[in-house]
Symmetry: C2
Subunit: 275 residues, 2 copies
């Protein structure tokens, strides 16, 4: 499928025990030359060098459908008089008539040991003090701010991937959720860029602690499905730094991936986020 | 446009000073007979009875496009060698060549005194103890849980409305953001249903405080654009209660709307959410 690529690089010696690991990168950025594109490429390269099989779902290139509608079901509805998307998705999953694009993504998830979500997640703040920002009641920091593109969350195209792919029956059921979720033997990690620096995303910063933004995604989505959540990879403000610094960020990500399989998951409970 | 409806009911005497207020309801549910549909209908009726002009953007009926792509720009790109959606949207807004569906929504926002976002926002938990849920480390409550449809956030179709409609230049600029945002003379309110009861969305509940989920939406989106944010309208667990209770919830919403114009906004700072 367009937008889906696989890479396996077996020329180099493999790190101990890493052979055969599979990684899915769910990637949402329109511009291949963007920082997000570079981070995705670095992951494909590094993980490929380790002998991992890497699959990329390039959502914009795939023109992935974000809307949760009746079109997702290629068989009779459970209740055609009262449309309940969640119930219908559960039924369609069990009966095997979810739409093919959803089935294909579920297959990739099922096969993966690690899923990386790579995207631009939040306000594109930058803190180079070109202007004073007086626009908030509790902060008077000197800063300027640039377009808050995806509004403290993932872009709609990636939200739609989560809404449609991680359906009941496939990713969770009851009581098979949170630590019992069906995806409990998999790792997940959100890698993202921001427009602002770390200070802006601190407890006293204008945007509040970056962890506040991660709660719905890491706990509400990933942990709910059982994923062991690895610490997020945050690339702060790449648009407002030097080319050298951007290269350092990409190198730092690649370096982290060298030992990613040895990392322990975070404790994905409220204490990690709010204390 | 399909999915967009207006209502103005002028037969009844108007409440004092309410004449001529305009309300936009951004509505995301596939099923007109759903609780969300009923809440939307109740708002149209009550506000219409007040003499307000009510417009509904019924996103599923409109098949609203959630993806932020080059198709949103009906003129030359600012930089065709490096696509940056936020920069292009800002440019296209200033030059007047945003796509017509975005322009139409911006017109509705510009004309509105109050915007209500009506949708199913979070996990469809229910707490009728049909089964014990052992699936979490920090809670051992007896409960059962049902499909977490929109993952602690708005559905992708509504996220896409936010991503595309509230662009730089229209909703904010710098330093015109937060209390200085361009939409500072407007009220906004998120009205939503959950699957779980209030206890589940408490600080010690499995889902954490419901306010945690609202931070990215109310602060990161609405407050950022300048909106005065009214307290959210939360209809807990309508699917797992009686018809009588559901009617009470709808009546309670309609009753609140009778005096909505007298309400004071919340203090949309971290203290409201996390203390």
């Amino acid at each position: 499928m367009s937008g889906t690529t696989s890479a396996r690089m077996e020329e180099d010696p493999l790190p101990c025990g890493m052979t055969g690991k599979r990684v899915l990168i769910v990637y949402a950025h329109q511009e291949p030359k963007s920082m997000n594109g570079s981070l995705k490429d670095a992951a494909v390269m590094e993980l490929g060098n380790q002998g991992c099989q890497v699959t990329v779902s390039d959502l914009y290139a795939m023109n992935f459908e974000p809307r949760a509608t009746k079109k997702d079901f290629e068989g009779p509805l459970n209740n055609s008089n009262f449309f309940n998307y969640g119930v219908e998705a559960h039924t369609a999953y069990k009966k095997g008539f979810l739409s093919s694009d959803v089935v294909e993504e579920q297959k990739k998830v099922r096969e993966a040991d690690l899923i990386i979500f790579q995207n631009q997640i939040s306000q594109n703040f930058y803190s180079s003090p070109k202007s004073l920002l007086y626009c908030t009641r509790w902060s008077s920091k000197a800063m300027s701010v640039k377009f808050p593109l995806y509004w403290f969350s993932v872009p709609a195209i990636m939200k739609g991937w989560m809404d449609r792919v991680l359906c009941q029956g496939f990713a969770f059921d009851f009581p098979e959720c949170f630590d019992r979720g069906f995806l409990q033997n998999k790792l997940a990690l959100i890698s993202f860029t921001t427009g602002g620096d770390a200070e802006l995303y601190s407890k006293t910063g204008l945007s509040g602690d970056i962890k506040y933004i991660l709660w719905p995604l890491q706990h509400g989505v990933l942990h709910f499905c059982g994923f062991k959540v690895l610490a997020p990879q945050i690339s702060f403000a790449p648009e407002y730094t030097s080319e050298e610094k951007r290269k350092e960020m990409v190198a730092s990500w690649a370096s982290r991936l060298e030992t990613i399989w040895k990392e322990k998951p975070i404790n994905c409970t409220p204490s990690w986020y709010f204390e």
